[in-house]
Symmetry: D2
Subunit: 148 residues, 4 copies
């Protein structure tokens, strides 16, 4: 399938987005390391959630909220990289399909914006266990964007 066409230059690079996240969302590291920005690109972002025992669940799998929070922040980062820190996006809808149990390792989330309109952004996220090809979760999200 062809990629989504992008005509926008990035407003923030990886380091700028990461610094902004740590400043406004210090809580995502509560109780252990939180999601890390691996890279940002045109309409995309990749985030890593380092493995930590607080995400562990019975049967050696990772918690749903850990995956769901990772997907949300990955889309948020993709939006930030495009529109900059001046305008905050508000999550209005998130949908998840859980496909396999994640392994006891880091999670990687590849986010891609499917639409970045004036007042609405829509994107999807593919989550995998680090080093594995199979998807553990697919997410879609919708964000309300303030006037900018």
């Amino acid at each position: 399938m062809p990629d989504v066409p992008v005509s926008l230059a990035l407003m923030m690079d990886r380091d700028a987005v990461a610094a902004f996240l740590d400043e406004v969302f210090p809580q995502i590291h509560h109780g252990g390391p939180g999601p890390v920005v691996e890279s940002v690109g045109p309409m995309t972002a990749t985030m890593r959630l380092p493995y930590h025992e607080r995400h562990l669940r019975p049967g050696g799998t990772l918690s749903g909220p850990a995956m769901m929070g990772l997907a949300d922040v990955a889309l948020y980062v993709a939006i930030l990289a495009q529109i900059g820190p001046v305008a905050l996006a508000v999550t209005t809808n998130l949908s998840f399909n859980f496909m396999r149990k994640p392994a006891q390792t880091d999670l990687l989330a590849d986010a891609r914006l499917l639409k970045l309109g004036r007042s609405l952004a829509v994107g999807e996220v593919l989550i995998r266990s680090a080093g594995q090809e199979d998807l553990v979760c697919h997410a879609t999200g919708t964000y309300a964007l303030p006037p900018r």
Copy 2:
């Protein structure tokens, strides 16, 4: 709208479900008090998430993952109460509409099963800030049930 008809007796009461949750999911209390079973009924469950600073986000609101995890566990509890602890349900789909920012107080989640079939359960959850009528979040969830 008429209620969903129910012909099943409960397999577990509130105390039995709460004890089971604490036994198999001790992690939901990691870093502070986790969700509490308020009540269970035919095809329903009500859960409370006690307010805790680890759920706090900028602007004085509560985190998305806190709400999403609460919705998931509320549906799981409603299923457990109906089918008992013998069979574990696996979340396959969760969908959220976020409608208002929650207040800095407890969250209450009213879960209701819309279908409890042989291999699939479907339900919805309405989440409010304690003491308020307006919804902060509506969720739907789908669960795969093992043979029983």
Copy 3:
């Protein structure tokens, strides 16, 4: 569960909404009778889709698009009744859980708005076969509202 609180008076009654629908969406009756407005109320609407062979599918069930279109128009009607015909709502998100195969009879859709904000409306729809209690489909929808 307590009902959603409503402080808004209706801008259009059943007959007004039905007349408006027929005027702006004559195509919903293409090839046979389309959805009929049964009633509107505060934040609610009930629609009926008369049985017609064009909705029939193998195994004696009704088509998914017939149910999905019915859910969409039911939420749209609930919004129209509240805000009047001056502002058109645009569907931005629809989510469906299909629970049972519908019978070869009319479909009834009970729509309820969960939020009616300045720029966004969110609602849910319960679809049943006429004369039956079990749900065949549950839908949630999100609508962008123009300035008004």
Copy 4:
């Protein structure tokens, strides 16, 4: 993002799937031409919905049910191509984000299976107006698969 890995050979090619669809779902052509199978591949299918005035809506756009039905059949075709006609898939969940109004032309749907398990298939669909790059709709779907 890397493609979903596929280890399965196709059970049906384009012509076989198209013939099967026409045989079991003649109703999709009711009132005018229905969706056409353009191609199938490993875990993928592309469908075209020929433009027809019965899909037209006010403002020169195409109906939501036309898009939703197209997404559903595209995922169904991708599943059929993989597992063959012996086992029927039942749609359990569909989620749509509508991003732009489609033009008055054919619609193209690119479906991709994200998971094809023993009892559950999950996939996504990207819908565009023919000849245009921008997405008009993104859909995800879940299907229950009978024992095979």
